[in-house]
């Protein structure tokens, strides 16, 4: 049987890619380790190597094909001793295989690598010109615009310059702004976070990128003790106008040490502001506001959202104020408040519940400190029911804080207990099924809402 060459997953979150070009033609000899094709992911162009020796029998996916799903066969290699007749046998076997799959009993491994990504809602109330772009591009544009307008703004972190960003968020910035303002650091989180805060004390406005917020635990002393507290300790003389940004929370099967939500950790601390956007427009508008803000801002991104596109205002003046939540779906029966990637899950749940006659109002918190309690309470006064949603652990979490505030300030408006949906109270497991169980899923959100609606 010919050996199928499958579309490879080239990052933990890759679900599809483009076949840039083949470097082997049908009939060519292929040795194990030979580069046979170039694949474009959303982050980079990667070469793929043959794992087996053989002859390129048939190319199944042509040069330039877009959006090829991971694990799709892209070519067939003829093993030693096989000739073209083997390809025909293969075709027959494939036909049989297809029939067996239509029964739906078997799920391909590809389907568990990453769930489909929800498209975030557009900024419908914005009336200026917009363009479709990814969250990744929106973040890059926010930094570029602020760097153009203020020489004191610079970007520092691991792989932000020559590598163009570990997640390609800083793509192109080195070319435009040069090595003085886009600075690659050694792997030294504690050190470069402290260096950034020291520079901010003098009035510079660093954007410190953590490759992920998991690594910022090495630097948390500077974020809290040096950045958040100095304004107070100095009687208002000097503070730290600095942004700490990077991906937060679970990505896809990267295990316990790389999958954690830090929202409640940082939101706990006076002196810090904490934001976590979902849509591309908010990513841009909030990052611009964060860079302009004279206080230290924790900017929590999500790796799974980087490649999601939506409408983004084109104007350089577009800024989303920190501390303002947004009602992203209007409803009357129950309110659900979440942030970052969980907003998409909440919208999906709302859609399902609408079919059952339950009208759900969805709030994207956007900022976690300051927390827009007013918007939540206004909504609760209308719906009289509240569910909170977060990816992180519930203990002392954002939902716990919202629940306390609403109970304190709007107790009489509640017709049911406030319920919280969040991550399972365990370190993140690696196994695909367990990871899925550990993270809030749409079905759980639906069931939770149904229990009090």
């Amino acid at each position: 049987m010919p050996i199928p060459v499958l579309m490879p997953a080239l990052s933990p979150t890759m679900t599809e890619g483009n076949l840039a070009r083949w470097l082997k033609a049908e009939g060519d000899n292929v040795g194990s380790g030979d580069i046979i094709a170039e694949i474009e992911t959303d982050k980079a162009t990667m070469e793929i190597e043959a794992v087996d020796d053989g002859i390129m029998g048939r190319i199944l996916v042509a040069d330039g094909a877009q959006g090829v799903a991971v694990n799709t066969p892209i070519a067939l290699l003829l093993a030693e001793g096989e000739d073209a007749s083997a390809l025909e046998q293969s075709d027959a076997a494939e036909a049989l295989n297809d029939e067996s799959q239509t029964g739906g009993a078997r799920s391909s491994p590809a389907s568990t690598i990453a769930a489909p990504i929800e498209v975030a809602p557009t900024e419908i109330e914005y009336e200026g010109e917009t363009a479709v772009m990814t969250v990744r591009e929106a973040l890059r544009d926010a930094m570029a615009e602020e760097m153009r307008s203020d020489d004191n703004v610079f970007l520092i972190g691991e792989e932000v310059a020559q590598y163009q960003g570990a997640y390609k968020v800083s793509q192109g910035l080195l070319d435009e702004f040069g090595a003085k303002r886009v600075i690659d650091t050694p792997i030294t989180e504690h050190g470069f976070a402290g260096l950034g805060v020291g520079a901010a004390f003098t009035g510079l406005k660093p954007i410190v990128e953590f490759m992920t917020f998991n690594f910022a635990m090495q630097a948390i002393d500077h974020i809290i003790n040096s950045a958040a507290k100095t304004l107070y300790m100095s009687g208002g003389q000097l503070g730290a106008p600095i942004v700490f940004r990077g991906p937060n929370g679970a990505a896809s099967r990267v295990g316990a040490q790389h999958s954690q939500c830090y929202a409640s950790w940082y939101a706990h601390c006076p002196g810090l502001k904490v934001v976590a956007p979902n849509s591309a427009a908010d990513a841009k508008g909030l990052l611009k506001a964060a860079i302009r803000d004279p206080n230290p801002v924790i900017f929590l991104e999500n790796e799974l959202l980087y490649g999601v596109s939506s409408q983004v205002p084109v104007s350089g003046d577009f800024v989303v104020p920190l501390g303002k939540a947004k009602v992203v779906r209007v409803g009357t029966d129950i309110t659900i408040a979440g942030f970052s990637i969980m907003v998409g899950k909440a919208l999906e749940a709302a859609e399902i519940l609408a079919e059952q006659g339950i009208s759900v109002e969805v709030i994207d918190l956007r900022s976690l400190r300051p927390l827009d309690t007013e918007t939540i309470i206004q909504s609760v006064r209308k719906t009289n029911r509240l569910v909170t949603l977060e990816e992180g652990w519930l203990f002392s979490g954002i939902g716990a804080e919202i629940s306390a505030r609403v109970t304190e300030q709007a107790f009489d408006w509640l017709d049911a207990p406030i319920l919280r949906v969040g991550g399972a109270d365990v370190p993140m497991p690696y196994a695909a099924n367990l990871e899925r169980l550990a993270l809030p899923q749409v079905a759980e959100i639906v069931a939770t809402i149904q229990s009090i609606a």
């Binding site: 030294t188 050190g191 470069f192 020291g198 100095s234 009687g235 503070g239």
Partner: protein, 361 residues
């Protein structure tokens, strides 16, 4: 295989040049050696300024100790008595664009940076007239005007922060140098090594001043550091280092001049290890049982930075006993005024509790 040079090798590995910079590691004027040979190079006003500034710190700290005993100063209070020559000698080389950052034994650094003793003492007493309006305390005091960036209570944190201030000097190309002080205890913190690496990598204008007073709280340097010659700590990154008699203000000033001009010229960071000694405990609540009374007494008698310096001034006829006496009186008066101010300044208004958490955006 046996190395042909093994007979002459010392315990420490030989240091090779790195990054094309010729590294020089010198040790001079150890406080442990009987003959401190630094020449008395300063004369006139600077000679008397050294004396005045060291004495101001000594008297200020003694007064702070008294006020602590009276319950007027609370919390932690780390006195600088014994180490005065380090900060006074270092400060003599700094210009307007330069800045200073240190850890929690910081009152001397503030006075040397030109901060008002009244404001410093009133911060110690937690009063409205303090540099942080009473909200910072002994370990957290700042003066933007005097380019004094604190005052930091987390051991080693000030080293990364100071490296960042030097980064800003380089970014702005303003010719400034940041003096980053820390102790022998802090030198074992990981972020010190991280900062040294970045400073050397990017050639930042920072002078790291390690005040080696031989004890990190109650742990002697021998019990804490595998390599006790701290001026070598930058060597792995090609940073020049030098050990200096930190009890001799003139030796310190000379070393400072060299190190600061080196950093200012764009050659990168420099490490100065100051051999010094604190007479008091780590903080006011430390009984200092980890060292003998004799050890302290011996240093006070033989190496006291103020006594030895005033002896040299009079021996070299740079000052008369009457001149010094006049300075003593002037300093005493300044310190008393600071103490009075610190006791009479009101506590911060209750409304100050919620101010200065955020800058209005």
């Amino acid at each position: 295989m046996a190395s042909s040079g093994s007979a002459t090798q010392k315990k420490r590995p030989k240091l090779a040049s790195g990054r094309g910079t010729k590294r020089k590691l010198t040790r001079r004027n150890s406080p442990n050696s009987k003959t401190s040979a630094a020449p008395l190079v300063v004369g006139g006003n600077q000679a008397l300024d050294f004396y005045r500034n060291m004495l101001l710190i000594r008297r200020f700290e003694e007064k702070a100790g008294q006020l602590y005993g009276m319950g007027l100063i609370g919390g932690f209070c780390h006195l600088y008595i014994g180490q005065e020559a380090v900060v006074v000698g270092m400060q003599s080389t700094l210009g307007e664009v330069d800045s200073v950052i240190t850890a929690y034994r910081d009152h001397g650094h503030m006075l040397a940076a030109g901060m008002d003793p009244k404001g410093v003492m009133a911060e110690l007493t937690g009063r409205r007239g303090g540099y942080s309006n009473g909200k910072g305390g002994s370990m957290h005091m700042f003066s933007k005007e005097n380019r004094f960036f604190g005052g930091h209570g987390i051991v080693g944190a000030n080293v990364s922060l100071g490296t960042g201030i030097a980064f800003a000097n380089r970014y702005r190309e303003d010719g400034g140098v940041c003096l980053t002080y820390f102790g022998d205890g802090a030198s074992n913190q990981g972020q010190v090594a991280e900062s040294f690496n970045m400073a050397a990598l990017w050639g930042l204008p920072v002078v790291y001043v390690i005040e080696n007073n031989r004890y990190g709280m109650g742990t002697s340097i021998e019990r804490a550091s595998a390599e006790t010659e701290l001026y070598l700590r930058g060597a792995a990154n090609g940073i020049e280092g030098e050990a200096v008699d930190g009890m001799d203000v003139v030796a310190v000033a000379e070393a400072a001049e060299k190190a600061v001009s080196y950093a200012r010229s764009g050659k990168g960071p420099y490490v100065l290890e100051m051999h010094t000694y604190r007479y008091r405990g780590h903080s006011m609540s430390d009984p200092a049982k980890y060292r003998s009374r004799e050890e302290v007494q011996k240093i006070r008698t033989e190496k006291d930075p103020i006594q030895s310096y005033s002896d040299k001034l009079t021996a070299n006829k740079l000052a008369s006993t009457a001149d010094l006496k006049a300075i003593d009186e002037e300093v005493k008066k300044t310190v008393q005024e600071a103490a009075d101010f610190a006791q009479n300044s009101p506590e911060p208004d209750d409304s100050e509790l919620y101010t200065d958490v955020y800058v209005a955006a």
